[in-house]
């Protein structure tokens, strides 16, 4: 996990392997902040999604949890 070369903090590995993960993270924050879904409720869904399929890639569990949270929040029209 150590880094070499330039300033160590500049080389911190990206936590997103792909851009969609970063967008998913950001849109979850956005919907939570606008009150569309509840932060703690989402976190519980994330824990449950990870437990349900521990070998599923992390961000796909996040996506499943976010999808469930949006569904549970009900229609917006």
């Amino acid at each position: 996990m150590s880094v070499t070369g330039a300033h160590p903090l500049d080389q911190a590995p990206s936590t997103f392997e792909e851009p969609w993960q970063a967008r998913l993270f950001a849109m979850t924050q956005g919907v939570i902040e606008s009150g569309g879904i509840d932060r703690e409720g989402f976190r519980q869904r994330l824990i449950a999604a990870i437990e349900a399929l521990p070998q599923r890639p992390y961000w796909e569990s996040w996506l499943a949890a976010f999808d469930d949270a949006l569904l549970a929040a009900g229609p917006t029209d």
């Binding site: 300033h7 160590p8 967008r23 998913l24 950001a26 956005g30 990870i50 992390y58």
Partner: protein
């Protein structure tokens, strides 16, 4: 609200995420430009540099260090870093005690001072093994601690996230705060490496 699971099989998570983003934007549930600015904030502005400044100040200023150890969140806020949730507890490494942080249930992490957590921090292996066999996992990650050093593992939650205050490296008396901050790595503030 559309159930994304009913899309075609070849629509992987990228396509589903894009579809959700489109829907949320159309319905005004996420403001225009918000997603791009959040991404920029967490990868560029927020990030381990914040934690490094907290650490360097604690090394230079003993009163600040005391405040940091007794109320991490408030001391961190003094430097202008705050976040939406929970406490940040700062745990100090010494020659006898080495602290390391994990979130066994998901990926709770002190975002305001460390940015987004690394992929390995979120892996099932790290989350399960760090509490069970910390000395072994640390050795695998490149940190070999002698048997005399006690390891303390801190399990994070939404209410309590942890930041490790690393031991100040030797022969740094002449450095200023900025130079000290430049030495502090993200991994040392999680506890999986030493400086």
């Amino acid at each position: 609200m559309t159930n994304a699971h009913h899309t075609h099989d070849h629509d992987g998570p990228a396509a589903r995420t894009a579809a959700i983003e489109k829907l949320l934007t159309e319905k005004g549930m996420v403001p225009e430009g918000f997603i791009d600015s959040v991404i920029e904030t967490y990868t560029e502005k927020v990030g381990p540099r914040n934690g490094a400044r907290v650490v360097a100040k604690a090394w230079m200023d003993d009163d600040y260090r005391r405040r940091l150890l007794s109320d991490g969140k408030s001391a961190i806020e003094e430097l202008g870093y705050s976040g939406p949730e929970g406490d940040v507890v700062v745990v100090e490494n010494t020659d006898e005690i080495h602290n390391v942080v994990v979130c066994t249930l998901c990926s709770c992490y002190p975002w305001t001072v460390l940015g987004l957590p690394p992929t390995w921090y979120k892996s099932p292996e790290y989350r399960a093994r760090m509490v069970r066999e910390p000395r072994t996992v640390l050795r695998e990650m490149g940190l070999d601690l002698s048997k005399e050093v006690e390891i303390q593992v801190w399990d994070s939650s939404a209410e309590k996230r942890y930041l490790v205050l690393p031991v100040r490296p030797q022969d740094t008396d002449l450095l200023d705060e900025q130079e000290l901050a430049a030495m502090v790595t993200r991994d040392s503030m999680i506890g999986v490496s030493k400086l």
